[in-house]
């Protein structure tokens, strides 16, 4: 037994070293950083210990802009993508021919490089002196005005970002929901059919309650994912997100750490901890809510 014991730890050593150096130590260190006021990475000096870093970022207009952008992105993309993926997954599970083909196609955005395909979206939406871009042509067709979605007004930029985020997150949601729908016990449907229940009632009374745990799971992961939104924004608007007024909380963390305004890990840590607090709060609220409304 004792011999076995020592051997087991031997197998865990490689994983343990990686975790200790790159996850556990950093986890403690981030709180240390967040308390070291205005710690400068280049000069390795700080002004003292305290909560100044938090107050600094909460008064930083760039941070407030980032919070606003992120919150808007969350509020817009999570409901739309959830409802849309429900519709599509429901459609998928009600057909037989071509189902595999559709599933394959719908999953494609998952395996693409966000930065690379973001460039395609940028070109579709961008207005340059040479061309108005695809999307503007579509707007012209409906007699709309041309809008520069990439360098133009705030709402237009936000719209493009949300569209791209939804395009990226849909494959995951469709996949999860389709499999949840497939696992609903067929007997419920047969019973409903015997009772002569109508289609819409079946959906509301049987399907939705049966897959509600999955839907809640998707909402939680959707919230967390959208709060961590970053590389999609870089793909569309370039690395200088502050200048484009399209920065996100995660983007703010990285800019503080490294980049034009970088070299301040203490501010970055404070922002990261606030982000973590937000995510944790939402998860807890969601869990409390779901316990009351999910039919397991």
């Amino acid at each position: 037994m004792e011999k076995n014991n020592a051997k087991a730890w031997l197998y865990l050593i490689p994983a343990g070293i990686f975790l200790a150096v790159f996850m556990i130590y950093p986890l403690i260190d981030v709180f240390v950083y967040s308390m070291e006021e205005s710690y400068n990475f280049a000069s390795q000096t700080s002004r003292g210990t305290g909560l100044f870093n938090f107050s600094y970022i909460l008064h930083d207009t760039y941070f407030l802009q980032a919070v606003k952008n992120t919150a808007l992105c969350v509020i817009i993309t999570v409901p739309i993508s959830t409802v849309l993926s429900l519709l599509i997954a429901f459609g998928l599970s009600s057909i037989k021919p071509l189902r595999n083909l559709f599933q394959t196609v719908f999953f494609l955005p998952y395996v693409t490089n966000t930065l690379a395909v973001g460039l395609v979206f940028m070109i579709l939406f961008k207005k340059t002196p040479y061309t108005d871009g695809m999307v503007n042509l579509l707007l012209h067709f409906f007699h709309g005005p041309s809008i520069d979605f990439i360098d133009g007004p705030y709402w237009a930029k936000m719209m493009v970002l949300c569209i791209y985020v939804i395009w990226i997150v849909m494959p995951f949601k469709i996949l999860i929901l389709t499999s949840a729908l497939a696992s609903v016990d067929q007997n419920y449907y047969n019973a409903a059919k015997v009772d002569g229940t109508r289609g819409w009632r079946i959906f509301v009374r049987i399907t939705l309650p049966m897959i509600s745990p999955t839907v809640f799971y998707l909402i939680i992961t959707g919230f967390i994912g959208a709060f961590k939104e970053y590389s999609d924004a870089v793909a569309l608007f370039g690395t200088d997100l502050n200048a484009a007024k399209m920065n996100t909380i995660v983007g703010y963390i990285y800019d503080m750490l490294y980049g034009n305004g970088g070299g301040y890990p203490s501010y970055a840590s404070a922002a990261a901890i606030l982000l973590f607090a937000i995510i944790l709060t939402i998860t807890v609220i969601n869990l409390m809510f779901s316990r009351r409304h999910v039919y397991y």
Binding site: P14, P26, L92, T112, D132
Partner: protein, 277 residues
């Protein structure tokens, strides 16, 4: 009955519409990459097809900017990270699944709780660690913090536990060592799961952007994500969109091919708990 047909038609229209939305960007990038520079810039209204496809953009993508270098870097990064991750994860999963040791449940519980940690919390110190170790702009600096994936250890452990105990006991009777049992019996039996985590890790590595961006500012060490961002900001000259699209196609193709080859494995792996990393 008529109502049912109508519902079917509406369903198909909805699905086809979404398929078009998904496919259109791919179509557009391939189409644009085949248009010549002058043809593209003379189209105020972009055309939906081209009668004179050209491969000059692909030549430009490899000759005017170091796209080949970016691809090569990404390949090295992906292969080494994935190989090291697989070895580390298999060993750890074996310890959790098969061996009995005191405090196993506590260690595993702590281990699982690490899965909840957002990457943003630990990246700050990792940045400092790697910078202070002088590993900026190097492969070890890129690879080391990217290796560990708690989730894959969990997935493997679950799979290892499904293998009947009898096999382990039999091998013990035969005097086989634990390591030999792991390599000769467990790994071959659990090959499907191991392949799944390898593919998921490859996708993650190929698309990783944030860490490489933080830790490299020398284009010699750029991965494809950083390379494409660099191309966009100072590559071909800002307006050479067709060449940029050729680079985008080159970067996207390997993963799409991988997906079409291992479609079921990838979808099953994602279903079992992967999120977009």
């Amino acid at each position: 009955m008529k109502k049912r047909t109508a519902a079917k038609v509406i369903t198909y229209i909805l699905l086809i519409l979404w398929a078009l939305i998904v496919l259109f960007p791919f179509y557009w990038m391939i189409l644009t990459s085949l248009k010549s520079y002058s043809a593209y810039n003379s189209e105020y209204v972009p055309t939906f097809f081209t009668l004179h496809p050209t491969l000059e953009n692909y030549v430009n993508a490899f000759t005017q900017v170091p796209l080949g270098r970016y691809l090569f870097n990404t390949l090295i990064f992906t292969v080494i990270t994935t190989v090291v991750m697989t070895i580390v994860a298999v060993l750890a999963a074996f310890a959790f699944a098969r061996l009995k040791f005191r405090g196993k449940n506590i260690v595993f519980g702590l281990f699982l709780s690490l899965m909840m940690l957002p990457n943003e919390l630990v990246v700050i110190t990792n940045f400092a660690t790697i910078t202070n170790a002088g590993l900026r702009n190097s492969f070890p600096g890129l690879i080391l913090p990217s290796v560990m994936s708690v989730f894959y250890v969990y997935l493997l452990k679950e799979n290892f536990e499904m293998v009947p105990d009898n096999l382990y006991l039999a091998s013990k009777v035969d005097g086989t060592s634990d390591l030999k049992y792991l390599l000769r019996v467990l790994v071959p039996i659990c090959r499907p799961t191991i392949i799944t985590i390898i593919i998921l890790k490859v996708i993650e590595c190929w698309n990783s952007y944030v860490w490489p961006r933080l830790i490299t500012d020398d284009p010699d060490y750029y991965l494809v994500s950083n390379g494409i961002q660099e191309l966009r900001e100072n590559g071909f000259g800002r307006e050479n969109i067709p060449a940029m699209m050729a680079a985008v196609v080159v970067i996207s193709v390997p993963l799409i091919v991988l997906f079409l080859m291992f479609r079921n494995k990838i979808m099953e792996g994602v279903l079992r708990g992967g999120t977009k990393g």
